[in-house]
Symmetry: C2
Subunit: 200 residues, 2 copies
DNA sequence: TTGCACCTTGACAATTTTGTCAAACATAAA
DNA sequence: TTTATGTTTGACAAAATTGTCAAGGTGCAA
């Protein structure tokens, strides 16, 4: 099926995307090479042919996801929009990728935990942070947001955006919420988050 | 070492606690029976002797963790304290268990995802929810918290409490925060969360 | 058509992980 | 001391997972 959707010589890409889908969309963090191959509709040894080993494929998936996420986020942070609009854009972007890959963040954490990964943020990313903090501080000075350490505001923001998506399954079952209902709640989240973080 | 700390016939308990520690404290979600046995300082086959199979052990760890968490939470929710104080207690409790088992929530989610787990909340838990919602609604009517759907307020609260703990590794490395600094930030979180959710 | 480069496959081997079992061991009661 | 019960161990078998390889296939360029 999906094998027919792409050119034959795109097997490499097909395997890569299928792996991403298994890990990030379905949350099958321990998918075996056989399972990945089956999901992609290809022979298992093709994974070795194109990626050398299972680990090499895993690492590639991880690095690509990281890079993609960073690239997008940087564009938003570096824009000259006011803070509130930056955050709005960030929410939109997060919810959009989260719809496709709800388990991506959790995969990152568990994967980093098992490997020993050090610098996964570029120097650029880290150097951008003080700028963001200044941005937040300025809004506090203007009285638009509750005064607190900028890092705490940032934690608040990331938490409010990411947690309901990452932990969706836990929340849905724990609070007994249907799929449709949870979708609706998520759609309202953007406004709720802004209302929670900004004074009127 | 740790084997000497307990009575010999507590091997059952020792293995169970070691498994919990590996999964929830160290985040080694794929620990093999050999790794668990080594960590506990016992022979691997004792896992089969006491728990029949690896899966049986895993399931037991999962169920016990769930049960323990629910038990504690129920005590808090059922208390007749005002909402703000309930939430304060909840924060204290969460941070306390999270210090010991930072990866517990993530383990729950990934584990539920791989198995097909349905009712993991007792009927009691679910039946308690409307009561909590009323509680929240009353505070909104009193003007103590920003008006929104009670479920959204609850999501906000859980997110603010749990996310920084669950995703600690990702946040620390992503934001370039030292261990000591992150500890300090977490210690301030309780007040920050209350300030964020409650109007003055 | 032939040759070449690349892709795909199934068979096989190596490794890892789990589970079983009989024998050895320890301890407390008779 | 002997016996009985429950615990621990190492050896072995089975299953699952990964990686290698030679052989076969495909399409395109000469």
């Amino acid at each position: 099926m999906s094998k027919e959707d792409v050119k034959k010589d795109d097997t490499y890409k097909l395997i890569l995307e299928t792996a991403k889908s298994l890990f990030f969309a379905e949350g099958k963090f321990n998918a075996t090479t056989q399972e990945i191959a089956d999901a992609a509709g290809v022979n298992r040894t093709l994974i070795n042919y194109y990626f050398r080993s299972r680990n090499a494929l895993i690492d590639l998936v991880f690095k690509e996801a990281m890079a993609e996420e960073e690239k997008q986020q940087k564009i938003i942070v570096m824009s000259s929009l006011p803070l509130r609009e930056k955050l709005e854009k960030f929410i939109d972007f997060s919810f959009q990728t989260a719809k496709e890959y709800p388990y991506m963040e959790m995969y990152m954490v568990t994967h980093m935990n098992q490997q020993n990964i050090h610098e996964f943020k570029t120097r650029e990313q880290v150097e951008l942070l003080p700028f963001v903090f200044e941005n937040i501080q300025a809004e506090m000075d203007k009285g638009n947001i509750e005064p607190m350490e900028p890092i705490q505001f940032l934690l608040n923001f990331i938490s409010l955006v990411s947690f309901p998506i990452s932990m969706r399954l836990l929340l849905q079952k724990g609070l007994n919420i249907s799929d449709a209902e949870f979708e609706r709640i998520l759609d309202d989240r953007k406004n709720v988050i802004l209302k929670t973080l900004f004074k009127n």
